[in-house]
Symmetry: none
Subunit: 209 residues, 4 copies
Amino acid sequence: METATRDSDKAPRTERGRRTLRKLLDAAASEFGERGFHEASISTITRRAGVALGSFYTYFDSKDAIFRALVSDMSDAVKMAAREAISPDMPPLEIERAALEAFLRFAGEHKEIYRIIDEAEFVDPESYQGHYRTIAQRIADRLASGGAKGEMRSGLGEVEAWAVMGMNVFLGLRYAIWAQEGDPECAAVVTRANLLLAKGLASNRPDPV
Amino acid sequence: METATRDSDKAPRTERGRRTLRKLLDAAASEFGERGFHEASISTITRRAGVALGSFYTYFDSKDAIFRALVSDMSDAVKMAAREAISPDMPPLEIERAALEAFLRFAGEHKEIYRIIDEAEFVDPESYQGHYRTIAQRIADRLASGGAKGEMRSGLGEVEAWAVMGMNVFLGLRYAIWAQEGDPECAAVVTRANLLLAKGLASNRPDPV
Amino acid sequence: METATRDSDKAPRTERGRRTLRKLLDAAASEFGERGFHEASISTITRRAGVALGSFYTYFDSKDAIFRALVSDMSDAVKMAAREAISPDMPPLEIERAALEAFLRFAGEHKEIYRIIDEAEFVDPESYQGHYRTIAQRIADRLASGGAKGEMRSGLGEVEAWAVMGMNVFLGLRYAIWAQEGDPECAAVVTRANLLLAKGLASNRPDPV
Amino acid sequence: METATRDSDKAPRTERGRRTLRKLLDAAASEFGERGFHEASISTITRRAGVALGSFYTYFDSKDAIFRALVSDMSDAVKMAAREAISPDMPPLEIERAALEAFLRFAGEHKEIYRIIDEAEFVDPESYQGHYRTIAQRIADRLASGGAKGEMRSGLGEVEAWAVMGMNVFLGLRYAIWAQEGDPECAAVVTRANLLLAKGLASNRPDPV
DNA sequence: GATGAATGAGGATTCATTCAT
DNA sequence: TATGAATGAATCCTCATTCAT
């Protein structure tokens, strides 16, 4: 998780400073993830990071600022996870399967990320919209590419991209974040979701002629 | 929007009381919708409602309590909107189309509702989960029924229900809440989404034998 | 427990009113006794009394007013209990014994009274002082009378009266209010206290000549 | 008056912090003494201490907490005053005289302390009981020691200790706290009280045989 | 850079009291 | 008389942010 761009006058200049910054970011990620933005307090974060309260302002201008930095980090991390799981020469539907699989695994391993990004809707709407618009764009690109290869319908666009993203996100919510005893394996979830993408819900019964 | 069940000792006993309660709920809906839970304050709400600060506590135990009441109200309202748009004897895919259409219209007309329910994830996680689990269950029932009629694949279940719900929610987010100039009409969005549900994304090209 | 004098315009005029007044006083006695003046609230009292909040002000001008009425009632009750236990023709030390015995029994049976009177020190200092001054005066009279009879030292006065009163009050606190398993019987306490009054603490050893 | 043990995370770490803490304790002592616990407010205290409202919470968790710290301080101070006035090799009755004398002087000089400890009965009953139980125990020890020396009756115990303590407390209330023009000198009060302890109230007249 | 004390605006909540019905 | 809704001043407490060391 690389730190997002921040005011250059806040960037650490020494190794010691870099360590403090990292401790703050880690502590903030945990706090925001566990308690949410409003319940978390700067002093909780600094206490958890093991640094003095005042040190916080050496690295961030405000509570919002560290939250934004975190959202940016995590938004990147989510995208990276998906991107690393796929390669352009995989068959289009296989790409979607891999993307969902990567996302489910990532969400399961970083539950707090999910929460932080979601809370951005209320704390920093800009980046929340930005996050999802970017992802939707990538999916749209993939669908277009699938159409170009002739393996997906042509004409797929933004609408389908948001639909696919919504599916993925809610499956992540249900089967990664809220996973519980007795739930199907992630692999099974991915398979079923991919089948839905492939063939839809309708039965195979030939249309009555 | 009917008021959710609350402590009986807070229920108004007079007509005047009922009016005050309604004013508070309406004001809270606007405030929470516009500013969000944390930015809204009791005094903002009462000022907006035109009642004294103390009157709030005649009807609610806390800021959380009115939020919960509101979420419950709105969760019901959303479900009601979908339910009224469909009837069991419509063809299964037609039902999904109508449900999405109703949801998009509803979300567009009550943007604050969307926001309030979403914020429940952080303010009152219980009801947030409850809301989506309930809806998922209903969709699952519809899919099962579609399978029974032979018009949908058999074996559709919870996974597909969450997928459909996620699709609907994100399309609502994108095309109702975040609607902007130049976006496709809702009708077009619904049509494309329904086609996705019907046939999936794959091209019609027969499988290579 | 008779109600103290109050603003005549608040005195109940009907039988129904008298009943309401009594319910309020009883509820207030319990509430003040259990929770103390500041924890108790008018609404707690009226709820306990089973009357409407507004009805309180039909009978009392304020929270202080009902407290004062109660202190007055109880102050009278305590004095009455002592007075009924003694008669002027009992031997003076016997009178003191009986007074203490009556007080211990009374305190044990009405623990809340003790607390209410004590709290008057902070809520209504006037009546608190008045209460103890009155009692001290009575004790002083008894001691003077004991001196006149020749069975007590002559010259006993206010100082001794306060000393005796303090002794009684603290024995009541310890052995009636804070009574616990394994404490001596009240009778034993009374006997020892009376012996202290009779002979003091010094040993009987004759003064070395 | 030394500060009682408190949460270590609230203990001042710098000299400046120690000064602020002291100012707060002093201001609180005055406020609680003059107005009582419930009339005093945090903002009154901080205003009086000349520090910002928020600074209060740097050192105490709540209004109750500072009250408790104060009671503890003062309870110690009272005991110290008595202890310093006596020495084990004084004659037992002389010890009692000195203890009462010290208490009267102390109460007269620190009227607010009396009030604060008394109010603890309602604000922090635990420490109130603790205070008097501890003192009673010390008196009981002195009486036992007096018995061992043969100058007091043997068999004196807890009952007599509470009796003596009650006398002292009420004499303090009457002649130190509520002192008024024309009252006897403290010395005279002490002498009379000591005579009561020495010989009791009965006349010297030999029992009629 | 690090520390932790100081600040004070802001907000939730309580409750005695008034008043219309 | 009884009722219970309405009022709003008062108070505790939180916490982001500043600042002196």
